[in-house]
Symmetry: C2
Subunit: 341 residues, 2 copies
Amino acid sequence: MAVVVNLEDGRERSRAPSLAPLTALVGDDLKRVNEVIIRRMHSPVALIPQLAGHIIAAGGKRMRPMLTLAAARLCGYANGERHVSLAACVEFIHTATLLHDDVVDESDLRRGLATANAVWGNKASVLVGDFLFSRAFQVMVEDGSLDVLRILANASAVIAEGEVLQLTTANDTETTENAYLEVIKAKTAVLFAAAARVGAVVAARPKAEEEALESYGLNLGIAFQLVDDVIDYTSTAEKMGKSVGDDFRDGKITLPVVLSFLRGGEEERQFWRRTLEDLDQKDGDLAHAIELMTRHGALRDTVERARHYGAIARDALGIFPDHPIKRALIELIDFAIHRAH
Amino acid sequence: MAVVVNLEDGRERSRAPSLAPLTALVGDDLKRVNEVIIRRMHSPVALIPQLAGHIIAAGGKRMRPMLTLAAARLCGYANGERHVSLAACVEFIHTATLLHDDVVDESDLRRGLATANAVWGNKASVLVGDFLFSRAFQVMVEDGSLDVLRILANASAVIAEGEVLQLTTANDTETTENAYLEVIKAKTAVLFAAAARVGAVVAARPKAEEEALESYGLNLGIAFQLVDDVIDYTSTAEKMGKSVGDDFRDGKITLPVVLSFLRGGEEERQFWRRTLEDLDQKDGDLAHAIELMTRHGALRDTVERARHYGAIARDALGIFPDHPIKRALIELIDFAIHRAH
């Protein structure tokens, strides 16, 4: 797809922004991350590598380990493999949370494939998640950095706390934009932030660079999640590996809903309460929801909010000199936002 | 209850062995552990301290944190509170595994009280378990010892691995004694071992003392679990907070079953297969199971096995000079085994 994209820094790129430049730059490292993942998820208990392999192989974009790798390289880390094994830890933690999420959400499909809980049951998913989480800490201990352990232990606690918060506030159409933002920070952005920061730590760079990369990751993660929430109302199954309207059917309160609810009248609020709080949904409700979102500019403005966080992420990289990795990380922001189109 | 117990070292004690001496010696420390637990399980997400408080307050004997405290004191640790905060970590990890276990086992009762999953649902139990686990690692990172982090990360991985193993081998009446032993090591004994070893680590004692306490904990843990498995067929609800026959009803393969199966003829094996593999149970089956166990000496010999591991635990302490804590730890072994009577 060759389109001209107006970048916010005034430059133009004669193609749609993509992951390709970043993948090209850290591809060799990422291959070794995948090898570490396969080696370290091994266990004599065969179900562990089977189940973990299913979800890890199912793919996803390996965004988080790529952030660790890219951050390490941007900070000049060159002589070692610490970034590779810590990127694997980040992916293990991410995978453990996905396994538990799918149990909690009772999901059957992830990226178009049956979830582990659908194939092996909830029990196995809970326990293999615990194993991967413990394994991540074992690998971090081998690495030996208390800073890394602190960053990822803190991230894990915030993630779990956020999941519990989401559990107790789910299906509340009066969720504020701030409350929603706290949930997606905890759910998504904090691990992006930690992944990027860990890369700076292995390069032993000054705190300012660690913090810059953490801020980049946090704001990129928020932008990604916001756009994901838009895509759930606009995409097609082929594009996402899930169908349009999954969030709607689950009664998930995402920013497009929050904005539509705030901008609509009492009759519309009744509609949102019926469909998302009471989960009383009939044919045509999803189409009506999308119509309301469009009428109120809720999808467009959610993308605008994503642009805002993307801009913060971009500025966070300002302390780094020009570098192919820096350019690829900036393109990653554009990629995150461009997915909404 | 005043009985004369013949101790294996030839001495006599004019009362039943109990936890009391240990509790008296580490009681002040344990009070502070409880304070740390309450402080560190706090979260602005109210459900977290509610749910965690429910299971932690429900009690249990605080065996694992007591082992950490006792080991630290036995090793002469005197100037600091590290043993207190690490004992809290051990209890957090234990609590996290209990929360996930109750989800996996679909348990409604624990120690006579409704389980957290019965009150708040599986989802909350999974996520609060994740939070406590992460919180334990945060507290360990604050403590700053990579040795401690390694010990407890390894223990956690083995526990999770053991739980998955148990999931895949559950209800198999042909489980060998060795396979059963591996399961209870992973499920129970490894955390006892880690808890005791951590105490030696904070006291900065030679590896030999760390390893002695680890061996003590491991073998004590095995003895405890073996006796628990006997009690499940012999106790009364008042004594245990659970009814006789819970394991039987769940089809759990414990050593009394393994021995009865091995020692019985084909007709008896059919009985075990029907009741524990197919879970096809009728009135009188539990009584018949207990009768078979008694006929084959399976309960008696399971206690004998427990004595064997208890003896190893006692000998492991041989490198320590006489000390009130050492005597209390030895009485703890006797207590573990005496519960079968």
